[in-house]
């Protein structure tokens, strides 16, 4: 008699377990979809254009810089590992590595051996005279092109203001 009772328990244990699994699944699924849709507001999406002239590693770095500029990527926040990032991009790990090193050179991120990549945890200081000069050097030829294309100073200043606004609001 005892044995038969034991057998019944073993035999129905699986069915019971199955039942628990499905109940959990149903409850979980309800909560999960509700929760995640509610607080999904702060997601940082990165967009890479396939048919752009800008190299992909630069696009990647630029997108991350915009995230930092908007404050979406906070100091000390971790970035995905090279492998995971490359998998999400479906692109070579080398590309991600290049972007990370480019950003590390600018001291916007820190690559810590083994523990991963983080956004610069120390406050990024205001541009030095040298950094300012470098930025100016990069903008200069673009402005020259604008002048050649008959854009007035006001139009170019407007364009700049608009771009700053777009960056802050996250408009692509």
């Amino acid at each position: 008699m005892k044995k038969a009772y034991f057998l019944l328990r073993v035999g129905f244990f699986h069915l019971f377990l199955t039942y628990v699994f499905f109940v959990l699944f149903t409850i979980e699924q309800k909560c999960y979809t509700n929760c995640i849709t509610k607080d999904g507001g702060e997601t940082v999406f990165i967009e890479i254009k396939a048919n752009s002239d800008v190299p992909i590693y630069i696009q990647l770095a630029n997108q991350l810089i915009e995230g930092i500029a908007r404050g979406e990527l906070k100091p000390g926040e971790s970035l995905p590992s090279v492998r995971v990032f490359a998998a999400d991009l479906g692109m070579n790990m080398h590309t991600v590595n290049k972007a990370y090193h480019y950003l590390e050179q600018k001291e916007f991120i820190q690559i810590v051996a083994k523990s991963g990549v983080i956004i610069q945890p120390n406050k990024i200081p205001k541009a030095t005279a040298y950094q300012k000069q470098q930025l100016a050097d990069q903008i200069r030829p673009i402005l020259a092109e604008g002048i050649v294309l008959k854009l007035s100073e006001e139009e170019m200043v407007d364009m700049l203001r608009e771009l700053v606004r777009d960056i802050k609001e996250g408009i692509q």
Binding site: K3, L17, Y32, G90
Partner: protein
């Protein structure tokens, strides 16, 4: 009874195959990437419908033929099992063949209508995807393996008491139909196979951590939520199957050591329960979650963007079924046609993951 069992399996396979297009993302039709704005193209809708009805019809005809043959001819068990499996495979192959015809048609349509011309192909990545991912912890998959190891130790403790012939295979009715002489190896062969299977489920769950997510640029939030849910429930599904197999094979094995627990009706009920339970799990996974979570409802108020499309990856999908992408470090990728996962075959690790368990299983059977 066995006939009914096989008929049920055949019906299940047929229905699952026939309605596959319903469980998939809208943006993939027969293994071809379809940009958001073409998903409701009449031709595609028609092809999907035709696929479903043709596969369903072939399956039902095969089922009727099979039932007629089995019930009128009264074949011996061996022939019955052989033919039943044969019919299942034949139905599967026919549906795959029909899939290929559809695949080629959609491919042609895509080229003719120039679905990609003038569109911005964009890849979207969520930086915190890994942090948001809620897979079951690795320990959950290791616990069943520990149970198996415990059973191996227990077997060796009880080794002298075991019968001289060890059952190594069980028929559909739960009665052992193949035996091996008792050796230190054959007495734990079943458990070793179990360990291989459990290891595969563990790897499946681990592999998802390094599998790239493909977020639809036209509908970022919805697609992100669905992807996260899909991965999470895949790990649930894997654990569920792993635990179920452990219970079934573990019980069978214990029965060899303690024959008194092997009541005929229990030995009969266990594989049947297992089968039903697995089918229910598969059905829930396909219908409730869907491929890439496509059947999970998301309350996303942000409007869909029509001018952006995902990067077209058709060139990496041979026949829309096999993924070869050298650049992509992902090992596991979401299937394009079918619910579940496949491997990135351009990666040597994928071949190892595929071949090693097979070799182990064949090796164990061979050594018996």
């Amino acid at each position: 009874m066995i006939i009914l069992l096989f008929a049920f399996i055949l019906l299940f396979i047929t229905v699952l195959q026939a309605f596959t297009p319903k469980f998939l993302k809208q943006t993939e039709a027969f293994g071809i990437y379809v940009p958001e704005q073409y998903t409701l193209e009449p031709t595609i809708v028609r092809l999907k419908k035709r696929y479903s009805s043709v596969v369903l019809m072939i399956g039902l005809i095969a089922l009727a033929g099979y039932l007629f043959w089995a019930l009128t001819q009264n074949p011996g068990e061996e022939i019955l099992v052989l033919l039943s499996v044969g019919v299942q495979f034949a139905t599967l192959f026919i549906s795959i063949g029909y899939y290929f015809i559809m695949h080629v048609r959609v491919k042609k349509l895509k080229k003719e209508q120039g679905w990609l011309t003038g569109k911005n192909e964009v890849r979207v990545v969520d930086i915190q995807f890994q942090q948001k991912l809620q897979l079951l912890p690795r320990v959950m998959f290791i616990i069943p393996m520990i149970v198996t190891v415990g059973l191996i130790i227990y077997t060796y403790m009880k080794y002298p008491e075991m019968p001289d012939m060890i059952p190594t295979h069980w028929g559909p009715s739960g009665q052992p139909d193949a035996f091996s002489e008792k050796t230190y190896f054959s007495s734990i062969a079943t458990l070793l196979m179990l360990l291989v299977l459990q290891g595969m489920f563990l790897m499946m769950s681990e592999g998802m951590k390094f599998s790239g997510a493909r977020i639809n640029p036209a509908n970022k939030k919805t697609s992100l939520t669905q992807q996260l849910a899909f991965r999470k429930y895949t790990s649930w599904f894997a654990l569920f199957i792993s635990v179920s197999i452990t219970l079934m094979l573990g019980y069978f094995h214990l029965q060899t050591i303690h024959p008194e627990i092997g009541l005929a009706w229990i030995m009969f009920a266990i594989p049947l329960t297992f089968l039903v339970v697995v089918f229910v799990a598969v059905a829930i996974y396909a219908v409730k979650v869907g491929q890439s979570g496509s059947r999970i409802k998301v309350n996303d108020s942000s409007p869909g963007l029509e001018d952006k499309i995902a990067i077209d990856e058709d060139r990496y999908w041979k026949g829309g079924m096999f993924y070869f992408n050298k650049e992509d470090p992902s090992i596991m990728v979401e299937k394009r046609f079918g619910v579940g996962w496949t491997l990135n075959f351009a990666h040597p690790v994928s071949w190892i993951v595929l071949i090693v368990p097979l070799l182990l299983i064949f090796g164990i059977t061979f050594l018996l």
